[in-house]
């Protein structure tokens, strides 16, 4: 797919995603029934959970393309990893901002060590490490390789972190019982959740393609600049 083709696809997906998001917001305020125990504040759930899901999807994509980058050395794979990481970080930030907000309104505390929230917080920091390492090398090629290593190790560690945080939680039950949803979500809520999941995924891929295309343009510009300056020496 050419860069302009990607930008078109990306824009389409992003617009669809944003429209979908508006739809999800509307539905979560006006259509879906109010949850019994938590009241209105629970509606944030339909943004909060899909954001987390998307963040982890993005990270998985970033780690996968990073691994392939180290193996095949194709610059485009690194650009994909970067684009995915940026998108992922955005969604992780959304999740981390909506989480405490929800917690405060629904249960009176900003932070409980809820496993999903904790895991996303750690993921956010792994993303941070990815970007910091990428931009703090003298040689940009090295930065890309280092970042790829961070992404891969991070992705492999996430299952361990998940298990350990879950286990910790089982030993140390929090005073506030946080049970945002069970496996048995009533029909409408489940529908909305799944819809929102799909919308967020579409939105992410739209942003991803746009970012990837942008990075490709930038690389092309760098290449042309270099060739021009090489000609003039």
């Amino acid at each position: 797919m050419s860069i302009s083709g990607m930008r078109r696809a990306g824009t389409t997906l992003a617009v669809l995603g944003l429209l979908g998001l508006v739809g999800v917001y509307w539905l979560s305020f006006f259509w879906v029934p109010t949850e019994a125990t938590q009241g209105i504040a629970q509606r944030i759930f339909y943004v909060h959970v899909p954001a987390a899901w998307t963040a982890f999807l993005a990270f998985g994509l970033s780690a996968l393309t990073s691994g392939m980058y180290l193996w095949l050395r194709d610059e485009r794979l690194d650009r994909a990893a970067l684009a995915a990481a940026e998108g992922g970080m955005v969604f992780a930030t959304i999740m981390l901002m909506t989480g405490p907000l929800w917690g405060k309104i629904a249960w009176g505390t900003f932070w409980t060590w809820e496993p999903r929230l904790t895991l996303t917080l750690l993921l956010w920091f792994i993303f941070l490490g990815y970007f910091m390492v990428r931009s703090s090398t003298e040689n940009p090629e090295k930065g890309k390789r280092f970042a790829a290593v961070v992404a891969i190790v991070g992705a492999l560690d996430i299952p361990f972190i998940h298990l350990s945080v879950l286990w910790f939680r089982s030993l140390h039950p929090q005073p506030v019982v946080v049970k945002p949803e069970g496996p048995t979500l009533p029909g409408d809520m489940l529908t909305l959740l799944l819809t929102s999941l799909a919308v967020f995924t579409v939105l992410f891929f739209g942003l991803f393609l746009l970012r990837y295309a942008l990075e490709g343009l930038r690389a092309g510009l760098d290449e042309r600049t270099r060739r021009v300056s090489a000609l003039s020496t």
């Binding site: 390492v133 703090s136 390789r145 290593v149 190790v153 972190i161 350990s164």
Partner: protein, 226 residues
């Protein structure tokens, strides 16, 4: 001994010899351990908290912070005269170099962690009971996982402008499993629970250690190549 093992041993031997000659890291980490224990003692209000209840966590945090001190310097030894280049242009496979470095770091960290346990036992009046074996095992397994990640990422940070200051940011999120399972096992053992109760945690620590050693060995070559 196969050539590979000989090459790994060469790196371990060389790092151990350097540490013995300079004693830089050992002294720094050892002093840190003792001083941290002193500070922690003052940071706990014994009217509210029993030291024995929080000791396990403090032991591990001291090991983590002190460990980072030492591990951050792993590739400093090589920076003088660009010695690492000499090692990398030798026929030793990169994973052998990594394993050698990681193992040398492990010996250093394990010694320090035993020191930390000893100091906290002394200062906090801990009862090691019959669980000394289990305690040293949990510390060892945790140290192994820690050291694998630390060695890999200290090679990364050595190539950045920020250097060692970047190391905690990269490593701390990844160490959560080690801290959770390590403290989980240690606090049980310090409370005189039987070893069988902590078998699950020890297994997870072991799995983590093996996984991080393997991943480190595979990815190290991408970090040090040029």
């Amino acid at each position: 001994m196969s050539l590979y093992m000989r090459q790994v041993w060469a790196v371990v031997w060389k790092d151990a010899l350097l540490e013995l000659r300079t004693r830089e890291r050992l002294v720094a980490m050892g002093a840190f351990a003792v001083l941290a224990a002193v500070l922690f003692n003052y940071s706990i209000d014994t009217a509210v908290v029993r030291p024995q209840d929080v000791a396990a966590g403090l032991v591990w945090m001291t090991i983590v912070f002190g460990g980072l001190l030492g591990i951050g310097r792993t590739f400093h030894l090589e920076a003088q005269d660009d010695a690492l280049q000499g090692v990398l242009t030798s026929p030793a496979p990169k994973d052998a170099v990594f394993l050698g470095k990681a193992f040398a770091n492990f010996v250093l960290l394990y010694l320090v962690s035993l020191l930390v346990l000893g100091v906290f036992t002394l200062f906090f009046g801990l009862d090691l009971g019959s669980n000394l074996g289990g305690l040293t095992l949990s510390l060892g397994l945790g140290a192994l996982g820690f050291v694998s990640l630390g060695t890999l990422f200290s090679a990364v940070t050595a190539g950045t402008r920020m250097g060692e200051t970047l190391l905690p940011i990269l490593v701390f999120p990844l160490l959560v499993p080690v801290v959770i399972y390590g403290v989980g096992a240690t606090s049980r053992l310090l409370a005189s629970r039987p070893l069988s109760e902590v078998a699950g945690s020890l297994r997870m620590l072991a799995a983590f250690a093996v996984a991080s050693l393997a991943v480190g060995a595979v990815l190290f070559r991408f970090v040090v190549e040029d």
